[in-house]
Amino acid sequence: MLQASALAIGYGRRTVAAGIDLAVRRGEVLCLLGPNGAGKTTLFKTLLGLIPPLGGSVTIDGRPIDQLTRRALAQSMAYVPQAQVMEFAYTVLDLVLMGRTAHLGPFSAPRARDHERAHAALADLGIADLASAEANRISGGQRQLCLVARALAQDAPLLVMDEPTASLDLGNRLLVLERVRALSAQGYGVVFSTHDPDQARELATRVAVIADGGLAAYGAPHETLSGPILSAVYGVEVKIERTESGRYVVAPRS
């Protein structure tokens, strides 16, 4: 469904990365890794149609995204940004209702059925009781879930999540990861950026590693998250170890 072909990304005349080919289908989780400054955020903005590609194309179900209206695009792809404190103290429900915007007429405000959809999205994520709480006054993890709920209320089959676990403590991180896994099992396609290779290994159907102006690796987690690739990309010597419980984790080679 979401596909990037020979994609070149960057701002203005400055190319950040090029030759990017990747795809996400329903029920899949594509994890995006890469060192700071490699272009993860630029790639996200390009995939979302927020900045134009410098070359190649991004398509949804075969249609180039620059031919879709904002509204049509929002109906096929929902964006989950990193949760931040907002200037205005919206309630969680208000924020989730904003996810309904692409389904409202240009001059309409949310109606009863939009409220129902918003409450259902909150219930899906187990935070129904937060509906009337102020979004700036709940925990970071809850706020992140609230933004996921907004994306669900958007009724788009594809979720694009920008480091949703970056600023979360262990408990909230595991909570968000568990929800993401459940959503992909429900049939959502998920693009998920993270700095944690172990998290990617747990979650991803496929992994794309962006570094040095292009995709350094793209494929199944066990192929892409190998010791040599991670060592080369991040410039530190690491190895993959198997724990007693059978999990694989990244560890320094020393």
Partner: protein, 342 residues
């Protein structure tokens, strides 16, 4: 499962009804007060006479329909316009400290109007020139910001507004220096401080349609304008055509502010403080704040009129009075901490 319409909607509906009642009461009260006091009975029978096609007995007819009501209705329109523009800009620029003149409209309109006074133009031409230079100033700011093609369009808009506004401010100072200090300079000073004392029925015939023309698109696009407060990227990803909605907000807010300033002079603080008061009552959602702020701003300026005329032996300029009231209220809002932005 919570009810489909949470408590916020009910609360804001109740607030809107109350504010409407307060506005109507303010209009009635302001029509009664003045050097020639009227009774509610006078007003009712005068309005009834007019509706029947007759004139009310003099001097009630002149006092009510030629002097007081035009002033009251102009105050209503100007208060509504400035509050709507302030609410819209605070949402658009995601900054609760923004006021309607952020893009230089007041300075631009002020420059045109004082230039008109310097050239000894008739009142209607002074208003027209103020209106035109107000629109022109924001047009220049907007074009400049677009031409600079920055990644951060909002920041460039604000900076361009500061630059062009400062230029217009310099223009005002220049006109003051050139003006005749005995006749023109007092008129310029008085105009810049804001006043509605010279309003005529004919002024309303141009002001009312222009203010309504600006308020309608803001009301229609209320939900999408609110989504803009999340920032450009999020609003786009939620399906809002940011460029179109932002242009409509800037165009409509500029239209109503330029209209207000051209007829009333510069009345500050309303566009900054009233949206905050409205948010205290109905929460931060733009679709709820806009109508509440419009009603509050209208009622406030209607009520402030009689105070300006009766508090001292001379008529206190409205801009002075709104500053005297606005500044302490704003400090109080600040003291309430971040919650006051809610």
């Amino acid at each position: 499962m919570a009810p489909p319409h949470a408590d916020g909607a009910q609360r804001s509906a109740v607030v809107l009804v109350l504010l409407t009642v307060i506005l109507l009461a303010a209009v009635l009260l302001a029509s009664l007060l003045g050097p020639y006091p009227l009774t509610p009975g006078d007003v009712v029978s005068a309005v009834a006479a007019r509706l029947a096609g007759d004139a009310a007995p003099e001097p009630i007819d002149t006092v009510l329909f030629k002097i007081r009501l035009p002033r009251v209705l102009a105050a209503l329109l100007v208060g509504a316009a400035l509050s709507a523009a302030g609410t819209s800009y605070q949402t658009l620029f995601r900054n609760p400290l923004v006021s309607p003149d952020i893009l230089g409209v007041s300075a631009g309109a002020g420059f045109g109007a004082v230039l008109g006074i310097l050239l000894s133009l008739p009142v209607i031409a002074i208003q027209g020139l103020g209106f035109a230079t107000g629109l022109l100033t924001v047009g220049i700011v907007y074009t400049l910001a677009r031409a600079l093609r920055s990644q951060n369009e909002i920041l460039v808009l604000v900076l361009a507004g500061i630059v062009v506004g400062a230029l217009a401010g310099a223009g005002i100072s220049l006109v003051k220096i050139l003006a005749d200090p005995y006749n023109q300079l007092p008129a310029i000073t008085f105009w810049l401080l804001g006043s509605l004392s010279g309003i005529k029925v004919s002024d309303l015939q141009t002001v009312a349609p222009l203010v309504i023309l600006g308020l309608v698109p803001l009301a229609l696009l209320r939900w999408r304008i609110g989504v803009l407060s999340l920032g450009d990227d999020e609003a786009k990803a939620l399906g809002v055509n940011v460029r179109v909605v932002r242009s409509v907000v800037i165009g409509a807010a500029t239209l109503v502010t330029a209209t207000a300033v051209s007829v009333s002079g510069v009345i500050g603080w309303i566009g900054l403080v009233i949206p905050h008061m409205a948010r205290l009552l109905v929460g931060p959602r733009y679709d709820r704040v806009l109508p509440a702020a419009v009603l509050m701003g209208a009622a406030f300026l209607v009520l402030i009129g009689p105070v300006a005329r009766s508090a001292a032996r001379i008529e206190i300029p409205l801009g002075l009075l709104t500053a005297l009231l606005g500044a302490p209220v704003f400090v109080w809002l600040l003291a309430r901490g971040r919650r006051s932005w809610s």
